[in-house]
């Protein structure tokens, strides 16, 4: 698909809809219930219009992304998150009406904000965990506090850094008090990507301890039934699920596959009902297959080339900018992602409604391919003559187009044009991770994925001193801009702050942007009722097999 088609398509997708600002205002004024149920009702209506769902059956899915643990407060992999969202609920959940992303109440029935530092959630009545325990205010409070508890050491604790306290107002109402207004909260409180807000069963955690990750107990439409290592994870229907009538399926069998092409083969021959992800190059074929339905749009992510700001040669911003403008992103999109991506000018991506500027290409903002500019910056670099930075790559266990070593190989000729010949060091994943974390590299490429809010997509990755800031970028102007953007709920203010922050970081170029990628879910046509959400989720709540 040409770039022009992409832009048009994106423009259509992001056309008018309720924008987030007015939604937030509705929330603030306590009309959350109305807005929430309007959206909820919408999706139910959508369901009723389609053919009548059939009950029963077990869906078989090929899972090609790794599952590390099913404890939502500890997982770092999206392969796990996709499964978790079927086992657990959060206070909120992510909803998508085809045009924009929103956060709607899930376990909470009503969401009020008496002031911009306090959030009151009225919980649904009668919700039970899979082990029978009631999911009441005490249970929710315990789960939220578990994330923040330093003794538990959850890697998601930072999402509740400004949480001052949780009060139980009554049996089904809790109040969360923050020390500062916290704009990121809706994302943090979702059961899926947010992970911090996923409500887990206290009794089960205490019973299993560290092994809770292999014995998850939540409130979701499916109960955990078993996990055979490197083989499969099985889920079974939760008959007591609180959404009436759901789920339709009796069970889910998740086959853990390391080899993407085997999964594609199984998909094309109809031996599995769906795939959790798809390598980019197979998408045209899968789309052409009449038995399959391909869901996938550009999601909240960006891929980039990171450069080590702490040492030569990339401690020199001029050299970094040269790299940033020397990369032909159209080429990367076409060859690295087989057309299933769009060039990224800056970190903020399309699903971030209200923040993403679909016309950013025309504004001159951000990074883009301009060889003349790249050469100009190169001439101003401290080091002239050929440079050989160490570029660490990892193939890992499988290689699929668009990741692994592919980007590095595509970049080689592009960088050669500005006199940079990277020395590619192939490492296995363990060593690659260690060297990246320890700052022992000059370049690497990676992607931050499944982000819904600008905060999570640039704050922990590029703010000074933050744990994911592996390149050592430090600019106090940038730091202040993104911190301030966290502390206000005003959409317009946040957008201005993020625009400025983006301009700062793109000018400093601690990274070179590559692309915003599409993320695909492939389902057989006999799988009905699937609602695609552009944040890498595979929700089976309303799915049925015909």
């Amino acid at each position: 698909m040409s770039e022009q088609n992409h832009k048009d398509k994106l423009a259509a997708v992001l056309a008018a809809g309720i924008n987030r600002r007015s939604f937030m205002k509705l929330m603030g004024s306590g009309a959350g219930l109305a807005a929430g149920s309007a959206i909820m009702g919408g999706s139910l209506v959508q369901n009723a219009i389609a053919a009548a769902p059939k009950r029963g059956g077990t869906i078989k899915l090929a899972w090609i992304d790794a599952v590390d643990t099913l404890d939502p407060h500890f997982t770092a992999s999206l392969g796990s998150v996709k499964i978790l969202n079927n086992i657990f609920n959060g206070l909120l959940k992510v909803a998508y009406d085809g045009k924009k992303v929103s956060f709607v109440p899930d376990l909470a029935e009503k969401w009020e904000m008496p002031d911009d530092k306090t959030h009151v959630f009225k919980l649904r009545q009668g919700v039970k965990f899979h082990n029978g325990d009631p999911c009441d205010a005490a249970a929710v409070k315990w789960s939220l506090e578990r994330v923040k508890d330093p003794a538990v050491a959850s890697p998601h604790a930072w999402k509740f850094e400004t949480l001052a306290g949780i009060d139980i107002v009554d049996e089904s109402t809790i109040r969360m008090r923050f020390s500062k207004p916290y704009a990121f909260l809706p994302v943090a409180l979702t059961g899926s990507t947010g992970r911090a807000g996923t409500i887990v069963s206290k009794r089960a955690v205490e019973q299993h301890g560290k092994a809770f990750g292999r014995n998850p107990v939540g409130t979701g439409p499916f109960k955990f039934a078993g996990w055979r290592e490197n083989e499969s994870i099985t889920l079974e229907r939760n008959p007591d699920y609180f959404e009436p009538g759901l789920p339709y399926l009796d069970g889910v069998q998740i086959l853990l596959i390391k080899e993407p092409t085997a999964a594609v083969a199984a998909m094309m021959s109809g031996q599995v009902d769906g795939m959790s992800l798809s390598p980019f190059q197979f998408v045209p074929q899968l789309k052409a297959n009449r038995n399959l339905k391909v869901y996938g749009e550009v999601e909240g992510n960006y891929s980039f080339v990171a450069m080590n700001n702490r040492r030569a040669p990339f401690d020199d911003p001029m050299l970094r900018k040269a790299v940033a403008f020397a990369i032909n992103r159209d080429s990367i999109v076409k060859q690295g992602y087989f057309g299933e991506a769009i060039p990224a000018y800056s970190p903020i991506s399309p699903p971030m409604t209200g923040f993403y500027d679909k016309n950013i290409g025309k504004t001159g903002r951000g990074q883009f391919f301009d060889l003349k500019k790249a050469m100009a910056y190169r001439k101003q670099s401290k080091v002239q003559g050929e440079i050989n930075p160490v570029y660490i790559v990892s193939q890992g266990f499988t290689g699929s187009g668009g990741s692994g070593t592919r980007n590095s190989q595509l970049l080689l000729p592009m960088l050669a044009r500005i006199g940079i010949k990277p020395k590619i060091e192939l490492l296995d994943r363990a060593v690659w991770t260690k060297r990246r974390n320890g700052g022992d590299f000059d370049m690497y490429d990676e992607a931050w994925i499944a982000d819904l809010d600008p905060d999570e997509t640039i704050y922990p990755e590029w703010h000074s001193g933050k744990p994911w800031n592996f390149v050592g970028y430090s600019n106090p102007v940038f730091d202040k801009l993104v911190s301030d953007a966290q502390d206000t709920l005003n959409q317009a203010t946040r957008k201005k702050l993020y625009d400025k922050a983006e301009d700062v970081i793109m000018a400093d170029a601690p990274l070179a942007m590559l692309a915003h990628m599409k993320v695909f879910k492939i389902l057989h046509k006999r799988v009905q009722g699937f609602q695609y959400i552009p944040v890498d989720l595979l929700n089976l709540h309303s799915v049925w097999l015909s």
Binding site: T69, E229, N230, E231, A265, A266, R429, A430
Partner: protein, 315 residues
């Protein structure tokens, strides 16, 4: 005999000990560690140090090995850092049966195809049948199992749709479905052996067919098939058994590839993943089992020798 076996056993245990020290050393020397992997991107120095301490990985290396050994011998094989699963359960109850089944079925296929091929080649020596059979035999050895597996998946699994392309169904739970799922992987793994078995069969049979006692049997009027299969094959059995035993290493190597390509949760997959994740206790467990298997097979081969060739039986 008992003394011989127990001496051999003691020797084996010593060897396994050396192996465990070696594999432990390798993984400890290798850069990268399970904690970085577990934390991945959600990495912070404090959580790293905390987890390292929790897993006991900050202790001196000798202590770690000592602890592991003491636990291992007592039957406590530990819990995987990454998955929190009991390793004994993982290795012996889940992974081992898969690999054994795969290996067994592969061997069966290799024998079923290889022996008749070899026999035909020997009987119709130097004819086109011989050439065809020998080509088939050699061809089996030529393709890397990962390549052959991929071809089989796409041709027989997708295009023709005859076999399932992934997933493991235990034959002891559902016999025919289990075998059906194992068909492609077993052919992939067995291909390597087909060649070997065919060639051994052919050359051993050829060696024997000229012998006087064969002519005598023919003269007695015994039917041809009896001559070949009963008298002739006796000579084939010993070299065949030797080869099978000695090639076990090759089968384990092929099993890793086959397990990866076909998504079979066997030992090969388990150990490979563990090496890549630097989870040394899982690697140790896997290597111990493989080592024991190796020795068990060698012992079995020795015993079979004695059974097959009475001359070797010690009084």
């Amino acid at each position: 005999m008992f003394q011989a076996v127990s001496a051999k056993l003691a020797q084996t245990l010593l060897v396994l000990l050396i192996v465990s020290v070696a594999s432990f050393t390798f993984l400890k020397l290798a850069p990268g560690d399970p904690v970085s992997i577990m934390l991945g991107s959600d990495y912070s120095k404090t959580s790293y140090e905390q987890l390292t301490h929790e897993l006991g990985l900050d202790q001196p290396v000798i202590f770690q090995y000592g602890n592991w050994l003491a636990d291992f011998v007592r039957g406590d094989w530990g819990t995987s850092y990454i998955t929190n699963q009991n390793i004994f359960e993982l290795a012996v109850l889940q992974a081992l049966p898969v690999t054994l089944t795969l290996a067994g079925f592969s061997l069966l296929i290799a024998l079923v195809i290889g022996i008749p091929t070899g026999v035909l080649a020997a009987l119709y020596r130097n004819s086109w049948i011989d050439v065809l059979a020998t080509t088939l035999a050699i061809g089996g050895n030529a393709f890397p199992s990962f390549y052959l597996g991929i071809i089989l998946i796409w041709v027989f699994g997708v295009d023709l749709g005859w076999f399932p392309v992934l997933g493991f169904v235990a034959p002891w739970e559902d016999f025919w479905r289990g075998l059906w799922h194992l068909a492609l992987p077993a052919i992939t793994l067995g291909a390597w052996y087909v060649g070997l078995i065919a060639r051994i069969t052919r050359s051993s049979l050829l060696e024997v067919l000229g012998q006087p006692y064969i002519l005598a049997a023919k003269a007695r009027g015994e039917p041809a098939w009896r001559v070949v299969w009963v008298h002739g094959m006796r000579n084939v059995l010993m070299p065949l058994v030797t080869v099978i035993g000695l090639q076990l290493g090759g089968m384990l190597r092929g099993a890793v590839m086959t397990e990866v390509v076909f998504a079979l949760p066997g030992l090969g997959m388990m150990v490979t993943t563990a090496v890549l994740n630097r989870e040394y206790i899982v690697v140790q467990a896997g290597i111990m089992i493989t080592g024991l298997l190796f020795v068990a097979v060698n012992l079995a081969v020795d015993q079979t020798y004695q059974f097959l060739d009475p001359r070797l039986r010690r009084r």
